[in-house]
């Protein structure tokens, strides 16, 4: 802590949105036009607090900062332990930004608008909690809690097959979390403390080390999601309301990669190396095979969902490829992991924007099938310009943030193997294919369908939101050093522990 903050900032930033969420629920029906202002105030305050954290954050240090640590359940040695470092802070910022975007652009006409906004505020607090928790049981608590708001969002405001999607989402991720809980308890009792930094595998037999590693890996792999445990994501996205898709793609998928960096790498150093090739292969399958699947999608949302899986492949590839380096090089490893973390933040922004765009079209036309569109650029030129811009960010065009992570990971993976670099580089063609096919059919061409004739251009507020995301995407693409400076000390620490 440098100066200024001498109050429990992290607790406040976790519970402020939760309190606002609860307050929203309690607003009586006759004051219902206060709903949106209160939600906006809540989310803006949270963002301001996050910015305050940032301003007080010492980016040159890899240590945990803003520490709040109290004994919680003494009997089991479980603590209430919040702190942040250079990886959790950017993800917290991403969470707060995403929540504001969702609340401001939310469709006011939907039923139970109050509850809808409240759930997002609750989710925001919970997700910040996941990123700030440094006690593994506290981490698990937030992790599990985060399922509930999204489950409700899909289940209540989802599409036709919302029940199927919600249950599938829940069972898949719950299955993973149970394994993680077992592993956490085992590790915690082995280490005598549940603080993440204290967890150790010393004294555990190699077989159980591997088993525990797998438990964590499965839990995180489902969240990322990695092939072949990804099939919940397209269903969840297609059925979820726009805001649900946005928070899911922008933040919730990042929990997987974040977990791997927090648990798998630092705790299971040599075991990670054993499984590295396995994870790399799965990542490459995600990058290539899932891109193929994306190519054959007819629904825009499911196309972007598959695109997310393919892009998240770079996160897992970047994290695990360092174990295959021949010979090992710390700088290249830093490049790979920085690339992976950068990809998480960047993908958060880009996929959020794309889902917003599809949501906007869906609101106006009632359809999100690619075949129902064509010529949107004529009816809504400003919207089209933004959508094309974000599509190119998704294609990883240099100068946008989407480029940085993929580029760094591809460059670094040559140190492992030419083939890995080659296969991952295929994304340059495949990603461009499915994204631009969609752009060609939806945005360009003549106006032929009824649906498109109902499209009109975005309003001023939407322009501001899209413009804001676009500026962030460009800024991070042109000056990735802003984020990477923050990651670097933590990444170095993780690499030291992992190798």
């Amino acid at each position: 802590m440098i100066a200024g903050i001498n109050f429990p900032a992290l607790s406040i930033i976790v519970f402020l949105p939760i309190i606002f969420g609860v307050v929203l629920c309690l607003i009586p029906e006759r004051y219902k036009n206060l709903t949106l202002p209160i939600a906006i105030i809540g989310s803006v305050l949270t963002l301001l607090l996050a910015l305050l954290l940032w301003s007080d954050f010492d980016a040159t240090s890899g240590a945990l900062q803003m520490v709040e640590r109290f004994s919680w359940i003494q009997l089991l040695n479980i603590e209430y332990y919040l702190a942040i470092d250079g990886i959790s802070l950017p993800l917290i910022l991403l969470t707060t930004i995403t929540t504001i975007i969702i609340i401001v652009t939310a469709d006011r006409t939907i039923e139970d608008f109050k509850l809808y906004l409240a759930l997002f505020l609750l989710l925001e607090g919970i997700l910040i909690g996941v990123f700030a928790a440094q006690d593994s049981i506290l981490f698990y608590l937030f992790w599990e809690l985060s399922l509930i708001p999204l489950l409700l969002l899909i289940g209540i405001w989802g599409g036709e097959r919302r029940k199927y999607a919600a249950i599938k989402f829940f069972l898949y991720t719950f299955f993973g979390s149970v394994l993680m809980l077992i592993a956490l308890i085992y590790l915690g009792s082995n280490s005598g403390s549940f603080a993440i930094e204290d967890l150790t595998i010393k004294g555990i037999s190699p077989f159980y080390q591997q088993l525990l590693f797998m438990f964590f890996l499965i839990a995180f792999a489902i969240k990322v999601p990695m092939w072949p445990v990804h099939t919940w994501l397209p269903d969840a996205h297609v059925q979820a309301p726009t805001g649900g898709s946005v928070i899911l793609a922008a933040v919730m998928l990042k929990l997987g990669g974040y977990g791997m960096l927090r648990f798998n790498l630092p705790i299971f150093n040599s075991v990670s190396a054993d499984f590295a090739m396995f994870v790399i292969v799965l990542s490459l399958i995600a990058i290539v095979y899932i891109s193929f699947v994306a190519l054959s999608q007819k629904d825009m949302k499911s196309l972007i969902a598959y695109s997310s899986i393919a892009h998240m492949g770079f996160v897992t590839l970047g994290i695990f490829v360092i174990f295959q380096f021949k010979p090992f090089d710390a700088d290249t490893a830093a490049l790979a992991i920085n690339g992976a973390v950068f990809q998480m933040v960047s993908h958060g922004l880009i996929s959020a924007a794309l889902f917003l765009g599809v949501g906007y079209l869906y609101k106006l036309t009632g359809t999100k099938m690619i075949a129902d569109f064509g010529g949107v650029a004529q009816k809504a030129p400003v919207f089209a310009a933004f959508f094309v811009f974000f599509a190119f960010a998704n294609v990883a065009l240099p100068g946008t943030s989407g480029f940085v992570g993929e580029f760094l990971v591809i460059i670094a993976s040559f140190r492992a193997n030419f083939l890995i670099a080659l296969i991952s580089a295929l994304t340059m063609v495949l990603g461009a294919s499915y994204t631009l096919f969609m752009i060609k059919r939806v945005i360009f061409g003549p106006v032929t369908t009824d649906a498109v004739s109902r499209v009109k251009d975005i309003c001023f507020i939407d322009k501001c939101i899209y413009g804001f995301i676009a500026v962030l995407v460009l800024l991070l693409g042109l000056r990735p050093v802003i984020l990477i400076e923050m990651f670097q000390p933590v990444v170095e620490k993780i690499i030291k522990l992992a190798i």
Binding site: P228, T231, Y289, D331, L397, F418, A432
Partner: protein, 654 residues
Amino acid sequence: MDLSFIILLAPLLAAILVALFGNRFGRRFSHLVTSTSVLIALILSCILFSRVFVAQQSSYYVEMFRWLDIGALDAMRIRISIGVFVGPLSTLMMIVVCFVSFCVHVFSIGYMSEDESYNRFFCYIAFFTFSMLVLVAANNFLQLFIGWEAVGLSSYLLIGFWFTKQSATVASLKAFLVNRVSDIGLVLGVAVVFYCFHTFEFAEVFAQISAGETAKQVNIFGYTVSAFDAIAILLFIGAMGKSAQFPLHVWLPDSMEGPTPISALIHAATMVTAGVFMVARLAPIYELADIARSFILVVGTITAISMGFVAILQYDIKRIVAYSTISQLGYMVIGLGVSAYSASIFHLVTHAFFKALMFLVAGAVILALHHKQDVKGMGGLYKKMPISFICSVVAALALVGFPGTSGFFSKELIIEAVHNSGGDYAQLFYVLALFGVLLTSIYSFRFVFLVFLGKTRLSDKDYDHVHEPAKSVTIPLVLLAIPALLSGVVLFDSLILNNALNIGAYVDKSNSLLLATSEIDGWGDMLLSAVKHPAALILILLGAGIAWFITKSTEFKQYKPFSIQGVLSNGYYLDELYKIFVVRPVHIAASIAHKVFDVTVIDKILVNGIAVLVDKSSRLLKKSQTGYVYHYLLAMLVFVVVFGWLSIRNGVVL
């Protein structure tokens, strides 16, 4: 702020201003802002050029901002920055880019005057100019790649400029994807560079090479190969897409769907030469890659010859020029293949002028004929459009390399360099390069004859209405015609004989270009040599004769699909082959991946299967809930025994 920053930022600022306010302030605002910005960039480029090229001051690099900065040790830090490299080659390129861009801006004021999206057009071309300047100003691989992709984006947007037209959106997508295929090579090349040199900076790579790091090896697919060959070939694959080399050239003819001014600017003069520029910029690497240079020579020769044939049989006025461009790019690549880097750059520069001129002439004709592009319906236009006619003759003469014109010097040098390259098959490549001159001559003169000479094939009424377009269209033609004629004479001595580009500093004495020019003292000597060794001149005249002969008949036959003419006029059916062997399999694979694997195997069988299994087994378990105490006791007993036994076996003390 360094002067050079303004060169880059002026067009960018103009593009942003037009994007934001173009529709509010109108057309005059759009074209004034963008043209002025490019003019400013041109003037400043000339100032820098006179410093580093003419006055031979030393090159320097100014950093704009840091892109990446990581690393444990300060000495080994990985630093990447964005900035401007001011050297002879980059400033020369800046002048070419800004000059052609300025001409195209002015030309477009007239050419696009009836288009609804006038402002958008000027925004795009200003952005393109900016991107191209970023590319040529690069001092590291990252900035090169940023510029590389940014010009690709501009090209995509401009080919698909008329986005309501299905064919335009298809062509733009194709251009982007084909370029992306080759970009894989570029990125992997950069990866190998980083692996070997631990840096992205050109200067640092060159420094390590001159310090003797010339024996590096890398492992590719289990084979240990020379790192330089690997880097050179991978990067060249990147160049093959952008510079439209066989077989990755297929996007360029289709790119003619875009407005003609951008065909002149992007798909003839500047962007497509980016690959050639890159190889010349990285000459020290390519000098250490013999295998790669042989590969480059072969690719260049195939491209130059095969596309020359195709150009002869085209009837779309723009496609003739497009295939001609690919063929000439082949010549530049041939020059690279025999280490004649300066000659390739020379040809790049002269080609930029005469090919932009040729395209703009085509544009003027298209405009005069109300967007008709079929040369079968032209002819005899010289009376109605004298300026365009004269300009087309200038362009054609320069294109074929008629002695004295700019193209003569540059192309002759490349051919002579091949002659002196001393490889195993040098003479074969020399003959092929000469043969290419014949092809060039045929299609160039055919173009002039079909469009401007002979009896007109327009109806009388249409013919009467044809007239030279507005001044803003003809002035750029004249502006370009001057360097198309004279740039060879002006640049020859400094560029080639005095080696002002300083590329030769890395090149040894047996260099093909040095040998080719060993007995030449000045451009006059070069002209004389054309008379002394008249092979090329004879071929040019022969080509003109053949062109006259084949354009004499005004009956245009439909080619049979599998006759020689049919195959050639369809570009060897490469598009169809790609469709059958690449595009369709990809789509089939995609739908199989989705339907069979994701939906059926994973979801139906595994995920839902487990759900069904859980359901079934819970029904089964329900039956065990019999309600009899002794059943439960038995179950407990069995459990305790089994669990206890397992625990003891594993050494667990309960």
